[in-house]
């Protein structure tokens, strides 16, 4: 993993991959993911097949094989726009942000969450604050880290799993895990240094 989180384009590329709507979008994001890695991803010959698999996993119209929403993994019943979505919405509100698809696309969609994690990362790099640190700690280390591994597992085991998508999902899982490690490390450093001074 690239140790420099600010300049590493992996996070944005993963975010864009999971919200892309067609083969060209998948391809563009996949190539960006590949560029961000030190070891490039395997070449994909037929992007149409990726698109078909992507819709079966995340879009529809059939029952989704791996719904890209946190709610599905964190709640007892398979439903969106419930407590988890609303909790994530309130995290975005805390950050002064709002989804452009409020009340049309659940806020706990993996790409929106990755985007929020990226914003929190950027904010931390630019100085941050104790509150933001706590918010980031909660959102990434506890919330995202709680469901993304289950999501990654479900993608890898899905009937329509395509190697390119499985790889992207695994990388997303890895990215969240790395973020969590980084956040905890930074937090410990701050605590050692006597906490935030702002």
């Amino acid at each position: 993993m690239n140790p420099d989180p600010i300049t590493n384009p992996l996070g944005p590329a993963l975010r864009d991959f999971f919200i892309s709507s067609d083969a060209s979008g998948h391809k563009r994001a996949y190539l960006q993911i590949s560029e961000a890695l030190q070891n490039p991803l395997p070449r994909v010959n037929d992007w149409r097949q990726v698109e078909y698999a992507f819709t079966r996993l995340f879009v529809g119209p059939k029952s989704l094989e791996a719904p890209p929403f946190a709610s599905v993994y964190l709640e007892n019943e398979p439903l969106v726009m419930g407590p988890t979505t609303m909790m994530v919405r309130s995290v975005y509100e805390m950050m002064g942000l709002v989804s452009p698809w409020k009340n049309a696309l659940p806020e706990d969609h993996v790409s929106l969450e990755l985007d929020a994690a990226l914003v929190l990362e950027k904010a931390a790099e630019q100085g941050g604050s104790a509150e933001l640190d706590e918010l980031r700690q909660f959102f990434v280390c506890r919330h995202m880290a709680a469901w993304i591994p289950a999501f990654v597992k479900r993608v890898s085991r899905a009937e329509s799993a395509h190697p390119a998508i499985v790889r992207a999902a695994a990388l997303a899982g890895q990215w969240v895990e790395n973020q969590a490690v980084l956040i905890n490390t930074q937090r410990n450093q701050h605590l050692k240094q006597g906490g935030w001074n702002g």
Binding site: G60, P61, K62, M95, G96, S99, P100, N103, E134, R142
Partner: protein
């Protein structure tokens, strides 16, 4: 998910960051608004206000499904999200409660399985779907429509099949869209209740039932082929109330239903022999002189001929043999029914889904009429009504494009919900029988159905002879489905368009049973990219006119709330005693109608009397008198029944997670005697098969079904290929063409055998 994951999940849900702490955080996070992400954007006034606490926004909705109860709903919304719903207290019928399916409604907009975007399938049935934009979808469809119009010099190659998936009045925009494109082909008729509608029209001059709330006044209630304990739970309270006041309740059904369990008397009638039973009762009432002579003399025609028929050709013993109900029981109930005033009969839709269904309903109507129970509170032969449906049909009534050509020589489509009026025109739409959709798709020619548009309907689950339907679905060049979930019909479509749920659109709902009217407000924004049927019509029109100006008259921009308002008129306001539609925002309103249908005894028949002898019926090729009509000859060893399940309305609701909790998979039901003969045990996997096709599923043994019956519920399961239409053919019922444009289907005149697999 393993235990470690599960523990993390619990931690994440039990968020330790309280709201208070969040607030503190907000000030610190203000800086983040200056650095939005790639997707998230700054929260500003345009994004609305942040809702933390406080009251819910309350909206009025109504269940638009094909159900007697058409419940008035109150919806509670917070920060644009539907939280929960309840039955409206303002309606004495809904009375603050919903059914098991209704309470699951909040699961519908927010199911992760919902169809979210317009999508195209590369290869019908291939499962290779791609997401496309609305513009792309409309462009593909519009280009195809222009192409077929150029090829055929008409739009008759465009076929519409739509029925009862959403009865909200503005959804007639689908038919309006078709009209606005030209003369098209319509699959007309109804699989539901047509034979009974015709029967009541021959007898009474219309289908018009008493207010169900008036059933409390009945002294004797026969629930004939109806299972309200499952299918009209709100009516049950009036039945119980009548029982509490001393009324006797008789339930007649081949299946021992939950309603039967609540009745005082249960008759397990031999399927399709209800007419014989009614005539046997009529004969005994006649013999005993218990009929209402004054009533029939004053208000009917043909009674003497009917009486002669009963005297000469009917005996109670014959009725007992035909129906399987002992003679003595027929005699007792007939006498009680004739002497308890008022007495009523609820005629269920199942008993007319037979080759003799219309004749049966006429026999039962006759029983109510000869005892003077028609036109009386607490009385009536109750079937349904459309008396509260006098809307403007603004969405439906669109102009044809200039120069449009169509079908010559036909009278045009009719239907149970046909509100198009009797417009005389050189051309008409081409009408094909909806109950023989497979056959029609295969045989329609000059032009064939090149484009099939499906809305408010799950053809592959609900239409008959599915093996033939699978063949028929190979024929159209383009199939477009408008849906909320991935049904078996969507599976075989080329394009699917996501449609709004009831919470996401403005419309109005009336009932074909009770007398209440509800407004349905848009309570939440449509999820994902769903559009209402009205908006879809407008979007298609915009694209059509861009490609070929003047090719579609449907407005290209619609304000759906305004379109809902445009459906109201002064007659509606007067009927419901309201000054404006906005009064309905305070709650549903009830029609200011007499509780008894035909209370003025001004019948709608040619003679203006109740017609025991209907010449019109005879002109239409049936018997003038409500005589016995023979049943369909069995074509296999067991009778097959495919009635409604408790957990769905036709193919709807069964896929909703809360319903799945109780109803995970389909079963067939077999009597232990029939099972023993076949070496079948409870829980065995069996094959139900006949000349049409076969179904494989688990069997449950029960004495609730007769020994000569195999039963399975009609249903569409999300993750199960089950489909009862694999073993139901498209044989017509006797009546239905007169008022609904096509005869019904003999859904319960099916036969099959069962074997262990």
């Amino acid at each position: 998910m393993d235990k470690r994951d599960a523990d993390s999940v619990k931690q994440a849900i039990g968020c330790p960051m309280s709201r208070r702490k969040f607030f503190r955080c907000l000030a610190a996070a203000g800086a983040l608004a200056a650095m939005p992400g790639g997707l998230l954007r700054p929260f500003d006034a345009k994004a609305g206000k942040i809702i933390y606490e406080g009251d819910y926004e309350i909206y009025r909705n109504a269940c638009p499904r094909n159900c007697y109860d058409t419940c008035s709903i109150k919806s509670y919304v917070k920060d644009g999200v539907l939280q929960f719903i309840e039955g409206a207290q303002a309606s004495t019928f809904t009375d603050g409660g919903l059914c098991v399916k209704g309470y699951a409604y909040t699961r519908r907009p927010y199911s992760p399985d919902r169809i979210k975007y317009p999508m195209i399938q590369d290869g019908r049935g291939s499962g290779n779907w791609r997401r496309i934009s609305w513009d792309e979808a409309m462009d593909m469809i519009a280009k195809k429509l222009v192409e077929i119009n150029d090829k055929d010099d008409s739009m008759l190659g465009l076929g519409l099949t739509k029925y009862s998936g959403n009865f909200g009045i503005t959804n007639y925009a689908v038919e309006g869209m078709m009209t606005s494109l030209g003369y098209t082909t319509r699959l007309v008729g109804t699989p539901c209740w047509p034979a009974g509608i015709d029967a009541q029209n021959y007898d009474l001059g219309d289908m018009w039932c008493n207010d169900p709330e008036d059933m409390v006044n009945s002294r004797y209630i026969i629930l004939w082929g109806a299972n309200p304990a499952w299918n009209s739970v709100h009516t049950m309270k009036y039945i119980y109330a009548a029982q509490d006041r001393g009324a006797k309740v008789v339930c007649i059904d081949p299946v021992f239903t939950q309603t039967a369990a609540k009745a005082d008397v249960y008759w397990q009638v031999d399927t399709s022999m209800d007419g014989a039973l009614a005539l046997g009762m009529a004969k005994h009432i006649l013999d005993k002189g218990l009929f209402d002579k004054a009533w029939v003399d004053a208000n009917s025609v043909g009674f003497d001929e009917f009486a002669d028929y009963l005297r000469n050709e009917i005996s109670v013993q014959w009725a007992a043999e035909k129906s399987g109900i002992p003679r003595q029981q027929i005699v007792e109930v007939a006498e009680e029914f004739a002497t308890a005033k008022p007495a009523t009969i609820w005629i269920g839709y199942g008993l007319q889904r037979h080759v003799n269904g219309g004749a049966t309903v006429r026999s039962i109507d006759a029983l109510a009429a000869m005892t003077g129970n028609v036109g009386k509170t607490g009385g009536g032969a109750r079937y349904g009504h459309m008396r509260t449906w006098g809307f403007n049909y603004h969405a439906l009534l669109q102009k044809r494009p200039e120069g449009a050509k169509g079908f010559l020589g036909g009278k045009g489509p009719k239907g149970d919900f046909d509100f198009s009026g009797d417009e005389e025109a050189e051309y008409t739409d081409r009408a094909l029988n909806i109950n023989k959709t497979a056959e029609m798709l295969l045989t329609a020619d000059d032009p064939p159905i090149r484009v099939l548009w499906i809305s408010c309907k799950n053809v592959l689950s609900q239409d008959f002879d599915r093996p033939k339907m699978l063949e028929a679905f190979k024929k159209p060049e383009l199939i477009v489905s408008v849906e909320q979930f991935f049904t078996q019909t969507v599976e075989l479509s080329d394009i699917v368009l996501p449609v709004t749920t009831l919470f996401e659109e403005h419309t109005i709902n009336a009932s074909y049973w009770h007398y209440w009217l509800s407004v349905n407000e848009q309570a939440i924004k449509p999820m994902y990219e769903a559009k209402s049927n009205t908006e879809i019509a407008a979007a298609l029109s915009a694209r059509m006119n861009k490609l070929k100006p003047g090719s579609c008259t449907f407005p290209t921009k619609v304000d759906t709330r305004q379109w809902m308002i445009k459906e109201f008129n002064q007659d509606i306001y007067d009927l419901f005693g309201i000054d404006s539609w906005e009064d309905l925002k305070k709650g549903p309103a009830k029609a200011k109608m007499h509780p008894a249908s035909w209370h003025d005894l001004e019948f709608g028949t040619p003679s203006k009397k109740y017609e025991f002898r209907s010449d019109l019926c005879a002109q239409h090729g049936h018997q003038a008198l409500p005589k016995f009509k023979a049943a369909r000859k069995p074509y296999d060893k067991l009778r097959l029944l495919t009635p409604h399940t408790k957990f769905g309305i036709h193919s709807q609701f069964i896929n909703i997670d809360w319903m799945e909790d109780f109803n995970k998979k389909p079963y067939c039901y077999l009597h232990p005697l029939a099972a023993r003969e076949r070496g079948i045990g409870d829980g065995d996997q069996v094959r139900v098969f006949n000349k049409v096709g076969e179904v494989e599923l688990e069997v449950k043994l029960t004495q609730n079904v007769p020994a000569d019956v195999v039963m399975m519920y009609e249903a569409w399961f999300r993750n199960n290929a089950y489909n009862c239409q694999n073993v139901v053919d498209d044989t017509s019922s006797d009546m239905g063409k007169y008022k609904t444009g096509a005869p019904g289907v003999a859904i319960h005149d099916q036969f099959a055998d069962v074997e262990k697999v």
